[in-house]
């Protein structure tokens, strides 16, 4: 009997992991809403596409920040690299096929992620913060110094994309763009979901919770961190590529500190370390911005700051955490 006990334990652990991995019916909701939005708001698909791109970008940040616990102020480096890679491929080299353009954007950003991650992820705390920040600003200044290639503050123009799969023309209303972005987001979401529930993903969470213990049990901490950083950079780069292709335009704003800060705010607002936080955060932030920023930019900025302060002090798990907590207290009342 004694010999079989560990086996029971292993089964229980495997069962627990499998259960977490299983799809919950509620997980269909965001995708149903996204498809419904396509039919209900045909006039707002351009905004919808931007929301989808921000979701993808925030999702990539969630992998490093929420799951691996790497605090970065420079995630726009990868978004910007992807945006310029896809943009320059079309504008300067004349290659307009969208899917290979996205792949190119992802690969370029992954290379930047791999090289910078391999060097920077040995550091922690303030040093790591400063290094990620300085890396992004350095890329921004590089883009500024080589305005002859990047277009500088005026932006990179002349991005022309050929029909998707040779069949779907990009229309004036952004229908193709929206569905294209949605399909890319769904594919990469599946990949991210698979990664975080895999044994590798569990190791990443372990590193976030306690680096020393993970080192002590022989986990290759640095290699794992660099791996997730590179994957995240590739996803952020693809988000940047989508941005360049859907707007046919890239400016230095794609590499700016403001963009790094915004994606951080979106993720924190939605909730970190839970994949769907990126969805809630991006939808709430961008819809509010679309309405409020036009009314009064100063009030909007004040509101963003206030929400951030309140979130840190009172709702550290973001909007999704608030939903869960209120759901739980309602369930308790019911009982």
């Amino acid at each position: 009997m004694a010999a079989s006990e560990p086996a029971v334990g292993t089964d229980a652990a495997a069962g627990f992991l499998l259960q977490r991995h299983r799809w919950h019916p509620a997980e269909a909701l965001p995708w149903l809403i996204a498809i419904a939005a396509f039919f209900v708001f045909p006039g707002h698909l351009a905004l919808g596409t931007q929301v989808l791109i921000w979701i993808l970008f925030a999702l990539s940040l969630d992998l490093v920040l929420g799951y691996a616990g790497i605090v970065t102020l420079g995630h726009a480096a990868f978004f910007g690299t992807g945006a310029y890679a896809a943009g320059l491929l079309s504008a300067k080299l004349g290659w307009g096929e969208p899917l290979t353009g996205l792949a190119f954007a992802g690969v370029c950003a992954a290379v930047v992620g791999l090289v910078s991650g391999w060097i920077l992820l040995r550091y922690r705390g303030l040093t790591l913060l400063m290094l990620t920040l300085a890396t992004t600003i350095m890329l921004y200044e590089l883009g500024n110094a080589r305005a002859d290639i990047t277009g500088g503050f005026d932006g990179l123009t002349g991005i022309a994309i050929t029909p998707l799969l040779g069949a779907f023309q990009y229309d004036l209303y952004g229908r193709t763009n929206y569905l294209y972005a949605l399909a890319v987001l769904f594919t990469l979401f599946l990949a991210a979901r698979r990664i975080v529930y895999s044994p590798f993903g569990q190791a990443i969470i372990g590193i976030r919770e306690n680096v020393r213990r993970m080192s002590a049990i022989g986990s290759p901490v640095h290699r794992r961190l660099v791996t997730i950083y590179t994957v995240s950079a590739a996803i952020a780069g693809i988000a940047g590529g989508l941005y360049a292709q859907s707007n046919s335009f890239v400016t230095l704003g794609a590499l700016s500190f403001e963009r790094s800060a915004t994606v951080l705010i979106i993720l924190i607002l939605g909730g970190t370390g839970r994949l769907y936080g990126a969805f809630i955060g991006a939808v709430v932030f961008l819809l509010l911005e679309d309405h409020l920023a036009k009314l009064s930019p100063a009030f909007w900025e004040f509101g963003v700051g206030l929400v951030l302060v309140l979130t840190v002090l009172f709702a550290r798990r973001g909007l999704l955490g608030l939903f869960e907590d209120s759901g739980r207290s309602i369930a308790r009342l019911w009982r």
């Binding site: 300085a134 009030f299 004040f302 840190v312």
Partner: protein
């Protein structure tokens, strides 16, 4: 040859003046970071507040420039205690992410609030006539305000060095930076010490903000525009080290200024590249404790 020398002296003086401002603003950030490890991205907002207080008391109450600066020091220093007690104190034990988010939020709120009350346009400042002209040294003339800045900076470095190295408060701060637990166990009230240091540091930032208007300008985006430079000074110099802050601020001020004159397109790129190289080689900064 004559002109080359003149340009070189001009660049050096401008850079020194700029570096002194960076030092005065950053030194408080450096000490509070060294003391508590608190990542305070809102430090630039305190400097900006100091700039607006200076401008306001000058135009509103007719206070002369040199008297407005100490007022900015006191007002912002006192106000910062409220922020420290209410918002910063709960997060001392939290991770740096929470500290970063809280203080970014404060920066946004500060930018919005100052835009609302003062408008987005740059606020001009009228410095005394004695400081606005140029000084004739016989062989060449120099901008009086830059000389004034260098002099103020030199005085501040001396005062802070004396305060840090030769007073009981300075000794307590150094002890707490070196080893907080040990300092606590010999009876130093580190929390109160931190509040005091935070107030002085924010006051110094405000003083620097007031002094900076004539050189760096004053708009509501000041809080974020120069933030990265303050952070670089602290991180490269080594948090908690006055000497490191002086060295990093002067080198950064002179290099940035020289870069703008000599290589306007890509000068900033090399500053960030150098920052990364230094931090990779010495993660705790040039004079920081490993």
């Amino acid at each position: 040859m004559e002109t080359t020398l003149n340009i070189a002296v001009g660049i050096l003086l401008d850079g020194l003046a700029y570096g002194m401002i960076l030092f005065i603003i950053s030194v408080g950030l450096s000490v509070t970071m060294g003391l508590m490890g608190f990542v305070n991205l809102a430090h630039g907002a305190f400097a900006m507040a100091g700039g607006y207080v200076t401008v306001s008391v000058m135009s509103g109450f007719g206070v002369p420039f040199l008297a407005a600066l100490p007022i900015a020091f006191v007002v912002v220093g006192a106000a910062s205690v409220v922020f420290e007690r209410l918002l910063y104190a709960p997060l001392y034990r939290a991770g740096e992410l929470d500290q970063v988010l809280l203080t970014i939020g404060l920066v946004f709120m500060a930018i919005a609030a100052f835009t609302f009350f003062y408008g987005p346009a740059p606020k001009p400042i009228r410095v005394p006539d004695a400081l606005s002209g140029s000084v004739d040294l016989g062989f060449r003339t120099l901008a009086a305000y830059r000389l004034f800045m260098v002099a103020v900076g030199a005085v501040m470095v001396t005062v802070l060095w004396f305060g840090f190295e030769r007073t009981s408060l300075g000794a307590k701060i150094r002890a707490a930076v070196d080893n907080r637990r040990m300092a606590q166990s010999v009876g130093i009230d580190v929390d109160r010490l931190f509040t005091l240091t935070f107030a002085i540091g924010s006051g110094l930032a405000a003083l620097g903000g007031g002094l900076a208007i004539n050189i760096m300008g004053l708009t509501p985006t000041f809080a974020i525009q120069y933030l990265v430079f303050f952070l670089i000074v602290v991180a490269v110099g080594g948090p908690g080290s006055i000497k490191g802050t002086v060295v990093a601020a002067l080198v950064l001020g002179i290099t940035d200024n020289a870069g703008k004159y000599l290589y306007p397109d890509g000068g900033a790129f090399f500053i960030y590249a150098a920052t990364i190289a230094i931090l990779i080689a010495k993660p705790a900064g040039l004079y920081g404790r490993e």
